[in-house]
Amino acid sequence: MAFLHGATKSKSGGESALKKRSLTPYLLLAPGLIWLITFFVIPIFSLASTSTMVRPQGAQIGTYVQELRFANYVDAFLANQEQYVRSFLYAGIATILALAISYPLAYMIAFKAGKYRNILLVLVVAPFFTSFLLRTVAWSQILGDEGPVVTTLKLLPFFDDSIRLTATPFAVVSGLTYNFLPFMTLPLYASLERIDPRTLEASGDLYASGFTTFRKVTVPLSMPGVVAGTLLTFIPAAGDYVNAALLGNPSTKMIGNVIESRFFAVVDYPTAAALSFTLMATILILVTLYIRKSGTDELV
């Protein structure tokens, strides 16, 4: 009897251990899942439901009722086409500029920096130690009418004295490029650093000049970094409103600024929500097409 009892006990003990083990992944997932559900899934449903609401006749500002009015999307989009196009245009230019600046930088850090590699990496990340907002305000000082850049440009013969940099598209795109530069540099560095230098030697050994080696071996092997870097730059840049607000003027407004003012100034929640969804959907489609096109699934 005692033996039997012991056997049963050990059996149930084994079962509970098995049960515990199968629970572990869920327990590990739980904090993240709860976080995402509370702060992403539920809000997104609430945002979706807001986007089709309508303000009843004569109701107070900020009071909306659900009427499933999908025409909100059409209205919001038609009223803000210009800002949409501008957002993607500015974000696109900033992404290309960031890529052009980051590639040589990341290449240098990965292959040529030697013992300075870590210092340079810290320098790339260093701007993150100050607030995003402050850095953008600083740019408005640097590009300001009395700032060093404009003063220097005025000394050059081909610019007249009325030249301004703040409140121009140039300032907004510069700000975007600058602010998202590390998001481009770091993934690029990571993928360049992973390239085995012996494959580059092998390419030279197989009759490829330095430039051909770069085109045929280095660039294809760094594509995962290029794709990751451009996405990490383009996506936040397309939705950004700080740069346009601090460095731009009313005619450089991006879609982020419209959403911000619809929410906080006009208190037009449905339009703001519809605009947010349209932005999200557009980015998703663009990103999917981009990843398909660049064909890096195998490499990532």
Binding site: T199, G204, D205, L206, Y207, M223, E298
Partner: protein, 375 residues
């Protein structure tokens, strides 16, 4: 696409007094070497002896600090690596991970502007017997397959010289043996000069026509495997290729084609042609399998004691201590003449004069011993 012009020189590869310094460290020291066209040549040495640096200078991946390199009549010392008619099989293969096997092999052909690469690539793939893998990516291949692809990728270009940098180092023993035979076959088939860098003396002896043993940036000795093994010129070569017994001896007389030497009251004879030094202090060398456990020869040592015995299948290996406490290694073939001695047994040793060689006695007896497998 810019087409790379590759020099088309043929002839012997000549290294003329090349040196390579990294700061104060001398990796290759005033090395001269002629490698005949079409030969299978091995650069053999322990790690850090300068063999890979020498190879990289031939490939154009390093520039010599001094000296010249030429193929036939053309000086290629300062020629860029991508213009040299020389290809390398890298130690870790260095295949292009983003390209298919076909494109990996076609890479060199395409760079030289050859449009129709299909036949050449297929021929190279068939040469290494991997024709069915052309659409795979390198990561989908085993180590041995990647190794063959690396050979095919180099050979498809029909280089004047093919450099192999420890190409079999990452393979397991069985596969390595198989690839040694394979590489030898390929070399005979294509007739290209192969220069093989290795630290594995057995690999070098199996494959190469000529072996240059390198040590500390210099060539210790060059010759066929048999020459190096049977008549080494330095203690380093004697110890690095196989095992060797070296006994410190004094010259008594040199006459009649014989050198009579003595050690601790024992006298031995060495044929004069096999003595490479005119010093009075010599090292008498004799290989373990040349020693017999008998005492009726000219050269014998009596009253020795067996201190260790290990059975390794084809032979039994004994450690035998001489009366003056020198330990000698003896291999005895496991056939009918087997003595089957035990540790502590008294025994005599003898050998034939023509199996001995005399080296300069001023060398370290242990130079080059136990270096071959420490990587």
């Amino acid at each position: 696409m810019a087409k790379t012009k590759v020099s088309q020189d043929t002839g012997d590869l000549v290294l003329n007094r090349i040196s390579k310094y990294y700061g104060d460290f001398c990796a290759v020291d005033d090395l001269s070497l002629t490698i005949p066209d079409g030969s299978f040549f091995a650069l053999l040495g322990p790690s850090g002896c300068g063999k890979t640096t020498t190879l990289r200078m031939i490939a154009g991946l390093e520039e010599p600090s001094a000296g010249t390199i030429s193929i036939g009549d053309t000086d290629i010392t300062t020629q860029k690596s991508y213009r040299r008619n020389v290809n390398t099989v890298f130690q870790n293969y260095a295949l292009f991970p983003h390209l298919s096997i076909f494109e990996n092999i076609a890479f060199g052909l395409r760079r030289r502007g050859i449009k129709d690469v299909k036949d050449e690539v297929e021929k190279a793939l068939n040469l290494v017997e991997l024709g069915h893998l052309s659409e795979r990516k390198p990561a989908q291949l085993s180590g041995g397959q990647q190794q063959r692809i690396a050979v095919a990728r180099a050979i498809v270009n029909r280089p004047e010289v093919l450099l192999l940098d420890e190409p079999l180092g990452a393979l397991d023993l069985k596969l390595r043996r198989q690839m040694q035979i394979e590489l030898k076959r390929i070399q005979l088939e294509v007739g290209i000069t192969f220069i093989h860098v290795t630290h594995d003396q057995e690999e070098a002896m199996t494959m190469a026509d000529t072996i240059a043993v390198m040590n500390q940036g210099k060539i210790e000795q060059m010759g066929s495997a048999t020459e190096l093994y049977e008549a080494p010129k330095t203690a380093f070569v004697a110890n690095f290729l196989g095992q060797c017994n070296l006994i410190k001896v004094k010259v008594q007389s040199r006459s009649g084609g014989k050198v009579v030497v003595s050690a601790k009251g024992h006298t031995f004879e060495i044929p004069e042609s096999r003595v490479s030094s005119s010093n009075d202090a010599l090292l008498l060398g004799v290989r373990p399998e040349k020693l017999r456990l008998d005492d009726n020869g000219v050269n014998s040592i009596k009253e020795c004691v067996v201190t260790d015995r290990s059975f390794v299948g084809t032979s039994t290996q004994y450690l035998v201590r001489t009366p003056w406490d020198l330990e000698l290694v003896v291999f005895e073939q496991n056939d009918e003449g087997l003595h089957d001695l035990r540790v502590g047994d008294k025994v005599s040793l003898e050998w034939d004069s023509e199996h001995t060689f005399g080296l300069d006695g001023a060398q370290d007896v242990n130079a080059g011993a136990d270096l071959d497998d420490d990587e």
